[in-house]
């Protein structure tokens, strides 16, 4: 890497850089050697940065018009929608932006699961990512409470009541969280404060996430360690910047579709009714991105164990680097893992579906089977697979399978003859 021998060309640049090496950092980010085979699944890091910035900017502007008070919050949101110039646009971007953020983060996480990006030496990157994901869920939940509609109020009641499952101190913790004997004005003001704070915590963690990434460098679809810089790498700028930029544009088209053509499809109609502590809506559902965990919560008939199962489902991800015993990173060379991976994807989608349905009859049965399988995947299948699976031979470099020595020799020869 050229980090250490970099020197700015201009005298002023040299003077500045000797005192604060920002230009060295900029140069590191520009020249940064990146695997040349990164596919479009690798563009979601950049997309997620865009999502975070969008949420912060639209959130700041909304905060200029929003009033965090139980008597005025609902009205002030309607005021934003009807009276504030472009208020509807900013709020729809912010509300749908949360969904887009989660869409991107789920793709990002499942990319990591497929290509084994969480494995040594990238465990810290992965754990930082899980912390960011937890903070995202906290921010999204508290943000959903702020409009003070029926779903806001009852969602807040149900989620804060999860803590009452803790033996002995549970009730005390819930009262402390509420600042009263029910979800009320003190709850709203503190949720607003924390909702404002968390994105900046996430921003700080994103810096650490990228810092930790730049120590070993990017994983890649082949999942092998590569020399940097070498014929297996390209500089981050312009190659990856352009690829990320193109993917971001495609993503923004999807984003814009939701904002302009179906801004309320991901929300819930009940949230356009002002919060009423006397009436619970007939069917309480969280936002779509929390549904799989909600399904896990409801599939356990015991209150405390249900909460424990839900939290474990998230926290189990943090120890994934040690549960997966396989030395091979990429699922491309793991024929069995590849199949289990897709079963897991289906399992999580099924959990999401039953999470939106009433917890009874067949739905409950499906939720229970899917919950059991979720834990089975991480606690049994992954550890055992590392020892039992017969993996395919891994190429020595990214270039090797292209120029010969590929697994599929016939294809490699065909390619070679074409080049000749």
């Amino acid at each position: 890497m050229s980090d250490h021998d970099y020197r700015p060309k201009s005298k002023v640049g040299q003077w500045f850089n000797d005192r604060l090496p920002l230009l060295t950092l900029a140069n590191h980010l520009t020249d940064y050697p990146t695997p040349k085979n990164l596919n479009y699944w690798w563009t979601f890091g950049g997309i997620l940065t865009f999502c975070l910035i969008t949420q912060i900017v639209t959130g700041l502007t909304l905060a200029m018009h929003y009033i965090a008070h139980a008597d005025m919050a609902f009205e002030s949101v309607e005021h934003i929608m009807r009276d504030v110039n472009y208020g509807w646009l900013i709020r729809y971007i912010h509300a749908n932006g949360a969904s887009m953020f989660f869409l991107a983060v789920y793709i990002h996480i499942f990319r990591s699961l497929f290509y084994g990006s969480y494995k040594s030496p990238r465990e810290i990157i992965w754990i930082l990512g899980i912390i960011i994901y937890l903070l995202m869920m906290a921010a999204a939940f508290m943000g959903y409470v702020l409009p003070w509609g029926q779903m806001s109020f009852w969602g807040a009641t149900v989620i804060t009541n999860l803590f009452s499952a803790i033996p002995l101190v549970g009730e005390g913790i819930v009262t402390w969280l509420w600042g009263g004997y029910s979800v009320d004005n003190p709850t709203l003001t503190r949720f607003f404060t924390l909702h404002y704070l968390i994105p900046f915590l996430i921003l700080g963690l994103v810096v650490l996430h990228i810092w930790a990434l730049h120590v070993p460098g990017n994983n890649n679809p082949v999942g092998i360690d590569i020399k940097k810089p070498s014929k297996d790498t390209v500089p981050f700028h312009p190659y990856i910047v352009i690829k990320d930029g193109f993917a971001l544009l495609m993503f923004m088209i999807v984003f814009a579709f939701f904002v302009f053509y179906s801004p309320n499809i991901l929300g819930h109609a009940d949230n356009y009714i002002e919060a009423n502590p006397m009436v619970t809506p007939a069917h309480i559902v969280p936002e779509w991105y929390l549904l799989p965990f909600y399904a896990i919560l409801r599939s356990v008939p015991d209150k405390l164990l249900g909460v424990v199962a839900m939290l474990s489902a998230i926290l189990i991800l943090a120890v994934l680097p040690w549960l997966d015993t396989s030395k091979i990173r990429s699922a491309v060379f793991r024929p069995l893992y590849k199949q289990f991976y897709w079963i897991l994807v289906a399992d999580v989608l099924i959990l999401g579906y039953v999470g939106a349905m009433p917890a009874e009859g067949l739905y409950l049965l499906i939720a229970r089977v899917a919950t059991a399988y979720y834990f089975l995947h991480f606690l049994v299948i992954l550890p055992v697979l590392g020892f039992k699976e017969k993996t395919l031979p891994v190429p020595l470099s990214i270039t090797e399978p292209v120029l010969g020595g590929s697994l599929n020799l016939a294809t490699a020869r065909q390619k070679e003859s074409k080049i000749e």
Binding site: T157, T175, V183, P186, P277, R298, K303, A359
Partner: protein, 169 residues
């Protein structure tokens, strides 16, 4: 390893750390406790309700400390049903006699003990209440009979100020 003798400096380190920890805790506690219910919230501790218009078989829902309170004037049938239940059939065994001192009147927090939703009147498998959120069934005494809720609906402190007025809290 050679025997380590406690020196003056070790004592100073320990003492300084201990005083520092106590000081830090003293600063942190106000930051935590400020989130607990404040004086104005606690001041709304009791409320008086006029129940003269309530006829048997009906429920009045009032707000107390931000939570709904069910005041049910029960019919003889409901009382008989609640009092004939065997203790061993209950998830959270409580006698109806203890929950409703005056059998005609059942006063309790209308809050499901699972995750805090408001159960619906005259619904469910036990002719009492049914919580729509996660499917808990309560009987005519507000006791949990089926579903994920762990306890019976809570009976708050209340008293009849006169024949027509109940004071809750």
């Amino acid at each position: 390893m050679s025997e380590k003798k406690t020196k003056r400096r070790d004592f100073l380190f320990t003492a300084t750390t201990a005083v520092g920890a106590v000081g830090a805790a003293a600063v942190v506690w106000p930051m935590i406790d400020q989130m607990n219910p404040d004086a104005s919230v606690k001041a709304l501790a009791s409320t008086e309700v006029d129940v003269s218009a309530l006829t048997p078989g009906n429920t009045l829902t009032v707000l107390w400390r931000g939570k709904p309170v069910f005041i049910r004037r029960r019919t003889q049938e409901e009382i008989d049903e609640a009092r004939s239940v065997k203790m061993e059939d209950l998830i959270h065994p409580e006698k109806d006699e203890d929950r409703a001192k005056n059998p005609e009147w059942l006063v309790m927090l209308g809050v499901c003990t699972h995750l805090g939703c408001v159960p619906l009147n005259d619904k469910g498998d036990y002719n009492g209440w049914f919580c729509p959120c996660h499917g808990s069934h309560y009987d005519t005494s507000g006791r949990i009979r089926k579903g994920p809720a762990p306890w019976n609906m809570e009976v708050p402190k209340y008293e009849f100020v006169n024949a027509n007025t109940i004071k809750i809290g």
